[in-house]
């Protein structure tokens, strides 16, 4: 049995909580209940060789990312940077959060999720922007918690990265 701590990082209202709820409980709500502090959920998933229990730490989003304290990140094996595709400034927030998270987690695996892909009319993020990020070596996935697009894939992808990183130095 393997257990992993995963943290959801991102600006407020980008859909961190919605993504976790979709993944863990297969539900979605249009209501916005901002998260205070941290909300924890767990989900057990099966990969080829492993059963993994994910402890999902859903953090509150902050405009001022400096206020997100590193404590919550400690000990996490991987993290999601969540941005809202209808608010391009949330990608900058994600980038700044990454600078901090990479240090605290000692370069743990992460994936950037550009959420709310169902809101195509309001979409602000261009393909070039995404490619730019991918060229930095980032794994970027466009998701929709509302339409359940790429949600499970994102979680499985990060888990596999975490397990891979775990077994690599051992072998």
């Amino acid at each position: 049995m393997i257990k992993k701590k995963v943290v959801m990082l991102g600006a407020f209202a980008v859909g961190k909580t919605s993504l976790v709820q979709r993944f863990v409980h297969s539900i979605f709500s249009d209501k916005y209940l901002t998260t205070i502090g941290v909300k924890i959920d767990q989900k057990q998933i099966s990969l080829k060789d492993h059963d993994v229990t994910l402890m999902l730490w859903d953090l509150y989003g902050e405009d001022d990312f400096m206020k997100v304290k590193s404590n919550y990140l400690m000990g996490s094996s991987g993290y999601f940077l969540v941005a809202d595709g209808t608010r391009s400034e949330t990608i900058e927030v994600a980038e700044k959060l990454h600078d901090m998270a990479a240090v605290v987690t000692n370069n743990a695996p992460f994936i950037l999720l550009i959420n709310k892909s169902d809101l195509t009319d309001l979409w602000e993020v261009s393909e070039e922007r995404l490619n730019g990020l991918r060229n930095k070596g980032w794994n970027v996935i466009v998701t929709s918690a509302r339409n359940n697009q790429n949600v499970d894939d994102a979680f499985y992808a990060l888990t596999e990265q975490m397990i891979g990183q775990q077994t690599r130095p051992l072998s």
Partner: protein
């Protein structure tokens, strides 16, 4: 090899080595020479080169006395000091399993002190329940306060969780038998999140720790180790020393899984066997329900009371018996009891006893079943107490039953009647009675002894002849009858004075002529009639005995048939 040879050999060896070294130096290649030169010029390089051999060299120097430890120690201390200042956590991690027990000891010392203070405050309280607890303390050897605390605290530990400190991941959990399943994974993450939140919000100190969380009547106690924490979910109020159990558990976990914890990668299987440490923290104390009584204690109490009662009664009745015996003994002539003492199982009775005093074993109070527990220590004396003087006088003088003895102020007083023989033969022995200085016989009536030689004829000379069918006395016969009675009274006096049993046959003769049965019947009737007459005159029963005698002649020389005659005999001998 001798010592001298040994030294020489050593000297030779070092000489050989020097030669070898010289050869080597001469044979150095250019690069090697350059390397050596740079080595010597660059202190950093040089230090790097010699550092591996330095420890051995220093050790050698110390062994040879070329370097004293005292001169190096300050340096080492300084180095350690700086090392710790740079990364204190590292040292704390290393020391944790070692220091845990010491810390725990300090805590338990504190606890003891707390208990002592509690003692002072609580000892005064008293109730039947507390009496029970005190008894329990007596029987179990625990301190009363310990029991009191245990009884007062109600608490129940339902879950114990081992949590990885940094990730907040649950490593292992143990739960009480009937406890519900908790989402322990969630709880442990949340606890960690709360901890993070707390240190985030209120405290900048890196190692600020969260020790306790209160949720309603539920308490979560948290004990931190460097890599893992243990959390106990508790209902109610745990005693202060419960934290010690948690400390022990977390120490044991660190001691057994130091590497696993340090290199934790999410694999929790290896923590299966920490269960045994966590289980020791699954304890519960239940308060004595108000309704339920501590029956075993009550029964023990009753048994103790019964035993005390029984022993008390035994003691009381034994004491009573012994006292009664002593009193009776003291009252016996010739005995003086000074004191009774208990010595172990025995009652030692001390005093004095006249050498001639009566035997005490006749006392009915002596015949108690535990006389084996009485030890008499009576010193022999000659007692001059009046009772003993009288007892001795009775023994020596052997007075008649008609004589009574009394004693006053050295004088033996005799009263009643006595006969002359006793008066002349026995009484003079009074001089040999200790304590008797004089005798007083003024009220003693001394009679000359009645003499059978004249009493018997005075009785036997009488005879009464009756006509057929007549038993009444005529006037002449009546006078004779009175004189017979007077003579018979003398015989009773004689009996009384000498303790004899002389008696009188009242007899009638008959013969075998005619109807024998009728003759006997008539004779018997006549005898009975005369005996009754004599008894009516006041003579005692045992003095008289009627009998019918046969004579072969129609009339005998001793009197006619139908004549009543008298014959004196000793009823104690012949019959």
């Amino acid at each position: 090899m001798t010592e001298q040879q040994g030294e020489a050999y050593q000297g030779m060896l070092s000489q050989a080595q020097l030669n070898e070294l010289r050869n080597l130096l001469v044979g150095l290649s250019n690069e090697e020479l350059k390397r050596l030169q740079t080595l010597l010029r660059d202190p950093h390089e040089f230090a790097g080169e010699i550092s591996p051999i330095l420890p051995a060299a220093i050790r050698k120097m110390v062994e040879r006395g070329q370097l004293s430890l005292n001169s190096v120690l300050p340096m080492i201390e300084e180095a350690l000091h700086q090392g710790i200042q740079k990364n204190p956590q590292r040292l704390a991690d290393i020391l944790f399993p070692v220091m845990g027990p010491a810390i725990r000891k300090a805590v338990s010392e504190d606890l003891k002190r707390l208990i002592q203070t509690a003692n002072a405050g609580l000892e005064q309280g008293f109730s039947p329940k507390r009496l029970g607890w005190r008894l329990q303390a007596l029987f179990t050897g625990k301190s009363y306060t310990e029991i009191l605390l245990a009884k007062t605290y109600i608490f129940h530990v339902s879950h114990v969780m081992l949590i990885h400190r940094q990730t907040g991941l649950l490593l292992h959990q143990e739960k009480a038998d009937k406890a519900v399943d908790l989402e322990a994974d969630m709880i442990s993450s949340m606890l960690t999140a709360i901890r993070d939140f707390v240190s985030d919000s209120f405290n900048q100190m890196e190692h600020a720790s969260l020790d306790q969380i209160q949720v309603g009547d539920m308490t979560i106690l948290i004990e931190q180790g460097p890599f893992a924490i243990v959390a106990a979910v508790i209902k109610g109020m745990p005693p202060a020393d419960y934290r010690v159990s948690l400390m022990e558990a977390i120490e044991a976990v660190h001691f057994n899984h130091a590497l696993d914890l340090e290199n934790f990668d999410g694999n929790v299987l290896v923590y299966e066997n920490t269960g045994k440490f966590l289980k020791t923290c699954l304890v519960s104390y239940r308060k004595q329900g108000e309704g339920s009584k501590p029956w075993p204690l009550i029964i023990i109490l009753i048994i103790i009371l019964l035993a005390i009662g029984w022993f008390g009664f035994q003691r009381y009745s034994l004491n009573k018996r012994i006292n009664r015996f002593t009193e009776q003994l003291d009252a016996l002539p010739g005995y003086h009891i000074n004191d009774i003492q208990r010595s172990g199982r025995f009652f030692v009775i001390r005093g004095f006893k006249d050498y001639e005093a009566p035997e005490y074993k006749q006392l009915e109070s002596w015949k108690i079943h535990d006389t084996g527990r009485i030890q008499l220590r009576l010193d022999p004396i000659i007692s001059l107490e009046p009772a003993m003087i009288l007892y001795r006088a009775e023994k020596i003088l052997q007075p008649l039953s008609s004589t009574s003895l009394d004693y006053q102020n050295g004088t033996l007083i005799l009263k009643g009647t006595a006969n002359k023989t006793w008066f002349e033969e026995n009484l003079p022995a009074w001089t040999s009675i200790p304590g008797v200085n004089d005798i007083d016989t003024r009220e003693l009536n001394v009679k000359s002894p009645p003499d059978l030689s004249w009493i018997i004829p005075a009785i036997e000379r009488h005879q009464f002849a009756f006509d057929v069918n007549i038993t009444t006395l005529d006037s002449v016969q009546q006078r004779q009858f009175d004189s017979l009675v007077a003579a018979a009274v003398l015989l009773t006096d004689y009996n009384a004075q000498y303790g004899k049993k002389m008696a009188i046959f009242v007899q009638v003769y008959t013969n075998r002529y005619g109807n024998i049965e009728a003759n006997i019947r008539k004779a018997t009737e006549r005898v009975d009639a005369f005996v009754s007459k004599l008894k009516e005159a006041g003579l005692p029963d045992d003095l008289l005995e009627g009998r019918v005698l046969f004579t072969d002649e129609p009339s005998s020389s001793r009197g006619q048939v139908r004549t009543v005659t008298f014959n004196v005999f000793n009823s104690a001998e012949d019959r």
